[in-house]
Amino acid sequence: MNNRTWMSRSLAGTAVMMLGLTLAGCGGGGGDASSRPENELHLAVYGDASNKVEQAMVDKFNETSDVKIVLDTIPGADYQTKLQTIIDTDSAPDIFFNWGGGSIANFVKADLLMPLDDFIEEDPQLKDAFLPSVFETAVIDDKSYGIPMRGTQPVMLFNNSEVLKQAGIDAPPATWDELLEAVEKLKAAGVTPIALGGADQWPTQMWFQYVFDRVAGEDLFQSALDGDTEVWDSEESREALGKLRELIDAGAFGTNFDSVKFTDGGSPTLLSSGRAGFELMGSWAYATHLDANPEFAENVLGYSEFPAIEGGEGDPDNLAGNTNNFYSVHKDTRYPEEAGEFLKLMYSDEFVQEQIAIGNLPTTTNTEEFLGEASNPEYAKYQFDLVKEAPHFQLSWDQAYPPEATVTIHTAVAQFFSGQIDEDGFIKAMQSL
């Protein structure tokens, strides 16, 4: 074997590896309505347990319509990648699941989505039937691009009420100072004050979302998102970072949070086994605990709003998290009228009841009537009231920014928590977005 064959062989090996990269590079261009299948509407959704309800809605629609909806479920983790690859081709879905905000901003910029305002004008319920703080998430440049289609998932401060009691903490902290006080008491009791799945990175980001909102109000992040990156270097931004540093330095998260994950059950088990006092997590944490340890979820698990920060500009009732998921409509769809009709199902009583039955919390105004049917009505009611009363519901940062920013944000929050970068490093990273 000579050098030349060796060279081509090595080239071959590495080139095959890159095949995935190029395959994704095929397509592009996109077509018009006539190149789409006749009498079919394709509906792409994130594949998971909620698909049951989506299928039921599709079946209901297909009963009376000549144009049939085909439900395409795309396995969860690959959803955004797959969507981005097909959205500008002839195989793009007519209606598709998304997270609003940054997840569709690029599509709007590339003029791929249909504004839904004409539908709303025809049937105002398409807007008025939903909670405003949620509906806003899919409004871009004053045009509506999405209709809420699953449940809301605000982030709350969960606690192990037994651990708190043993440490002498009577009530969940309502203010930042009470939180710091609780941290000291829990440390004295020999437990990790706050469980954090730092290896997943997005749980770390939740702390930034709330502290920035409480200290600086919702406008700081919105300005940054609109392109004014100077706000990251503002006094409020530095104050928020200082608060976080204070909490980290107090040992609130222990020392090994960078090796702990939420997704593999690490951090929730810390909380349920009594080795941690708190965990900041999305409302799905209840379902996670109910699945792993029903007794704990029903009797011991407590929850409260993120504490207020004294002197901060943000309203203490502001929320952060996943406002909801949305259906958006592709502008090249062959059957816009039918797509609009389908969206109206998203505020029907049947839809709300089906969602509640599988544990989701829809964000329609009629949801309240059916909360009694939830598996834990008290928890459902608590959450719904939070969302209803929230002056502002901050979409998670990594979803508010377009997907290309995710890696930068996640790396920055993780590095700040582990001490690899300081305030200046974090500000620089966020300004690079």
């Binding site: 090595s10 095949l19 090796s259």
Partner: protein
């Protein structure tokens, strides 16, 4: 690599030339161009065309929406001044070196041992080869759970692991990745060495023991030199494997803490498929091609493998 190698050998083999000795003088000679056609087409379609496409993409800005936009050398300028890219290349190099250094001695020893005929050898070898049967993703998920600082092994052995923050420090995370790589790939290389060690003619050992050489002397003077070509094959496989390590990084560390285990192949994935910057992703892929080619060439040159000297010459 493996499939390509097999195919390269199989294609000229085909049906008739596999028994050239019997078919006589009439069919002796160089095989025609047609023999190379299937392999050439396959190679062009799945290697050269994508390679060319990636090369073109590396000069564009493209998020998957609309058409790629030509931006000249912008992606390359970004890469050259990107600290994460530079760091990732060093990390890749470190992974390769550590991988070779840890896996080679172990797999040579195990392979030579497994080539013998001791009692229980077959049973124990079968157990050693189990990791070879598992997918990388399964192995990574398994070790991720085993290494949980609170509920995994480190939680039980706090005298050894301290607070168990293995994946939260750079040295810890690299150590874990190297260890898992070793656990996963040593059986494969053991298999290669076992085959090669079995092929060493017994007469060599018999002659050596007549001359009074003990086991250790025999190992260093006969076994190791005889395994030379095998070692080069194995090391090149480790180098390519190390450069393209991906699933273990994705699942075990996700490139972290921070960017401390973001090796080049993982960075390519992040840029292309998480950040949807196919231009920069393609540029990183090209860098990988060049680096892999260079390293392979260096190994081949330095080791004298290209001369293809037989280790059995004179026997």
């Amino acid at each position: 690599m493996t499939t390509l190698a097999t195919r390269r050998q199989a294609a000229p083999g085909g049906s008739t030339p596999s028994r050239p000795a019997r078919s006589g003088a009439s069919s002796v000679g160089r095989p025609g161009f047609a023999w190379a056609l299937p392999a050439t087409i396959f190679f062009a379609l799945f290697a050269l065309v994508p390679l060319a496409a990636v090369a073109v993409l590396s000069f564009t800005s493209w998020s998957g929406l609309g058409d790629p936009e030509f931006v000249g050398l912008e992606n390359w300028e970004t890469l050259v001044s990107d600290p994460v890219m530079v760091k990732s290349l060093w990390l890749s190099l470190l992974f390769i070196v550590l991988g070779v250094v840890t896996q080679t001695p172990l797999s040579i020893l195990l392979g030579v041992w497994a080539a013998g005929n001791q009692r229980n050898r077959a049973v124990l070898s079968a157990i050693y080869f189990i990791p070879l049967l598992l997918s990388s993703a399964a192995i990574s998920v398994l070790w991720r759970a085993l290494l949980d600082p609170n509920f995994g092994i480190p939680g039980q052995l706090s005298w050894l692991f301290g607070d168990g923050n293995l994946l939260g420090t750079q040295s810890g995370a690299i150590g874990v990745l190297i260890f898992v790589g070793m656990w996963q790939f040593t059986p494969f290389h053991t298999l290669i060495y076992q085959g090669a060690a079995k092929g060493i003619p017994n007469v060599l050992y018999q002659a050596a023991s007549i001359d009074g050489a003990g086991m250790v002397r025999q190992f260093f003077s006969i076994t190791l030199p005889q395994l030379r070509n095998t070692a080069i094959t194995s090391i090149i496989l480790m180098v390519v494997g190390g450069l393209t390590t991906f699933e273990t990084v994705l699942i075990l560390t996700n490139g972290g803490p921070g960017t401390d285990t973001t090796i080049t192949a993982f960075y390519m994935y992040q840029e292309a498929f998480q950040s949807f910057d196919f231009g920069v992703g393609s540029a990183i892929a090209l860098v990988l091609v060049v680096v892999a080619t260079l390293i392979s060439l260096v190994v081949v040159k330095v080791s004298g493998y290209d001369k293809m000297n037989s280790s059995l010459e004179g026997l």
